[in-house]
């Protein structure tokens, strides 16, 4: 039973870290209706900066704060490109991600080993290897803070930007300010995920951010099949996607079929949900 638990623990741990990216995608594409592709770049930026700061003996909590701010500035760039230079939202995200690839290479190179610097995960004895004990409260409290924030006045204005920008103008507010603020929040959270991932695995690799967008989007879609609001369903969605990837490897098929199996499992899950909700509706 121990070995099964190790696999499941790994799935939950990675799911928890990537759920921050799912939350970021939720903020951009579901609240302000801005499909932001720059999250892939800011996840890498968070990781690169985290590796650099840790190797320069900056304490991990200071590093996490700096990394979040750096991610927010990446979001600021995307927002400025969109609102001031009038670039299409997809293009501004692509441009920022492309530029950040070079910046990340300059910051940390293609691969940077953190070594045995103290990280968040050293709060528990290293031998126990139960990183999950730290991740659950950290990620859940971030989710709760974000949920609370989205219910404040500022959070409602974010929603208004997405649904009805005219209303903000009528209220005498500039919608652009809120678009930029939401992008900063989303990219800051993603960069935090990147930083946590580097602390989790112990090294930075330029390739680790490749595919984050898909992980985040798939997590969001899966979470929406559970519930549409901002809450723990987002964390569940991210964990589900990691479970699907792990299940693919567990099936032990010809490696070349892996991605197809992953795709089939996702289709199966969403179809199952659709079908079951139809079923319950008919019953009621």
């Amino acid at each position: 039973m121990l070995s099964e638990w190790l696999i499941i623990q790994g799935i939950i741990e990675r799911g928890l870290i990537f759920s921050l990216s799912v939350m970021a995608i939720y903020i951009t594409s579901r609240i302000i209706h801005f499909d932001d592709l720059s999250v892939e770049g800011s996840f890498g930026l968070g990781g690169a900066l985290m590796a650099l700061l840790l190797t320069h003996n900056i304490p991990w909590f200071v590093a996490l704060a700096i990394v979040t701010l750096a991610g927010a500035s990446a979001g600021l760039m995307t927002g400025l490109l969109h609102t001031k230079l009038k670039l299409n939202n997809l293009i501004s995200g692509i441009v920022v991600t492309t530029a950040l690839f070079s910046i990340n290479l300059k910051i940390a190179g293609s691969n940077m080993v953190v070594g045995n610097k103290t990280t968040l995960f050293d709060l528990i004895p290293q031998t126990s290897n139960l990183k999950i004990i730290i991740l659950i409260p950290v990620i859940c409290s971030i989710a709760l803070i974000l949920r609370w924030f989205l219910k404040t006045e500022c959070g409602f204005l974010f929603k208004a930007v997405g649904d009805n920008p005219q209303m903000l103008t009528n209220l005498g507010k500039n919608p652009h300010t809120y678009v930029i603020a939401a992008l900063m929040l989303a990219n800051g959270v993603t960069a935090l995920a990147g930083g946590l991932f580097v602390q989790y695995v112990g090294y930075f690799s330029i390739w680790s951010s490749v595919g984050i967008l898909i992980i985040a989007l798939a997590g969001l879609i899966l979470s929406e099949s559970l519930a549409k609001h901002f809450g723990f369903n987002l964390i569940m969605g991210a964990i589900l996607y990691q479970a699907i990837i792990a299940a693919t490897f567990e099936l032990n098929v010809d490696p070349e079929w892996n991605k197809l199996i992953t795709a089939l499992l996702i289709i199966l899950l969403i179809a199952l949900k659709k079908h079951s909700s139809l079923f319950t509706q008919r019953q009621s």
């Binding site: 190790l6 293609s110 691969n111 390739w207 490696p255 949900k273």
Partner: protein, 328 residues
């Protein structure tokens, strides 16, 4: 409604977990007393596939099925590599892990501290901060003899004045090799022209531009370049300029010459090391990590004829290989 959703999500997670558990139990029932080696391959391209095949063939030949291999491929994703690494770590039936290329090694080394890890296609394991006194890592590296290679290039192609270095700046091993290449080329008064490529889409543009500025192309042992070798060799042949590679499989794909690593051989050598650990009970930290480069120069006969080169006196063995034009 909310409760139903929660129940449903728990149900789905439950199904996945039970699928994993059932699969495990099935494995336990089916498992013969044979030893299993889990193979974690970073990505699919001919060089790494060769390293994998060489390993499997040697293991099967030498043990008559007493040791079996299970192949997992991360398809270039670091996150997948971690998922697989954790799986291999947790599976008690797996007694050793064969990691192909640096990302696979880093992923497995971050979780696995006890089972032996055998490596191939890793250029500089010492730089990764994972080799220590009681290390569980042993195997082969693909670090190449760059000064020697540059000297042979100067012997075989004496008129070359500018060489374009095609590499991926986002790969650790390539960056390290390029730094040495630049220095060595300057020593032989050849001008290096570094061309960085980070995605396969950029390759046609970058190579065409490099071919117009340089007399020859040189590539390190780079994963991205290795996967794009057919297009790079095609472009350099159309431009009538020699392409020099650092892994021998590239010559089969249309590169002019290589004096480097034969990944099939390095897989075989790593397999021999794995056998001494698993069968003879040697401790991994007592075994050195050995380089696998051979001194033979491998030349593609067709490209050689197309370029019309004559080779003078050289002390090394030259092996010419003939290949049909098919596919390239």
């Amino acid at each position: 409604m909310k409760k139903k959703n929660l129940l449903l999500s728990l149900l789905i997670i439950g199904i996945i977990i039970s699928a994993i558990t059932i699969n495990k139990t099935r494995q336990k029932i089916n498992s013969t007393p044979s030893i299993k080696i889990g193979i974690l391959q970073t990505a699919s391209h001919p060089a790494l596939d060769a390293a994998c095949q060489g390993f499997i063939n040697t293991i099967t030949q030498n043990t008559n099925g007493a040791i079996t291999c299970v192949v997992y491929n991360a398809q270039g994703s670091i996150i997948n590599a971690h998922t697989i690494a954790e799986r291999l770590h947790a599976d008690n039936s797996i007694k050793g892990i064969y990691a192909i290329a640096t990302p696979a090694l880093q992923a497995i080394a971050s979780v696995e501290k006890e089972k032996p890890i055998f490596i191939a296609a890793v250029s500089n394991p010492y730089q990764l901060d994972i080799i220590n006194k009681k290390t569980n890592i042993c195997g082969t590296t693909d670090m190449i003899d760059i000064p020697g290679t540059i000297k042979r290039i100067k012997d075989i192609l004496p008129h070359v004045t500018t060489i374009a270095l095609i590499y991926n700046p986002a790969e650790n091993n390539s960056v390290a090799q390029i730094a040495i290449m630049k220095k060595e080329l300057l020593l032989h008064s050849i001008k290096p022209l570094p061309i960085g490529i980070t995605t396969e889409m950029e390759i046609p543009h970058a190579i065409t531009s490099a071919l117009s500025k340089a007399d020859a192309l040189l590539t390190p042992t780079d994963n991205l370049i290795a996967s794009a070798m057919p297009i790079i060799s095609h472009l350099s042949r159309s431009a009538q300029k020699p392409l020099i590679a650092c892994h021998n499989d590239a010559v089969k794909q249309g590169a002019f010459m290589a004096r480097g690593v034969d990944y099939y051989e390095s897989g075989k050598e790593t397999a021999q090391i794995a056998l001494t650990v698993l069968r003879d009970g040697k401790k991994p930290y007592k075994l050195p990590i050995t380089p696998t480069q051979s001194d033979t120069i491998i030349i593609n006969k067709q490209v050689f004829d197309e370029l019309g080169i004559t080779i003078g006196e050289i002390s090394d063995t030259i092996m010419y290989i003939n290949l049909s034009e098919q596919g390239i």
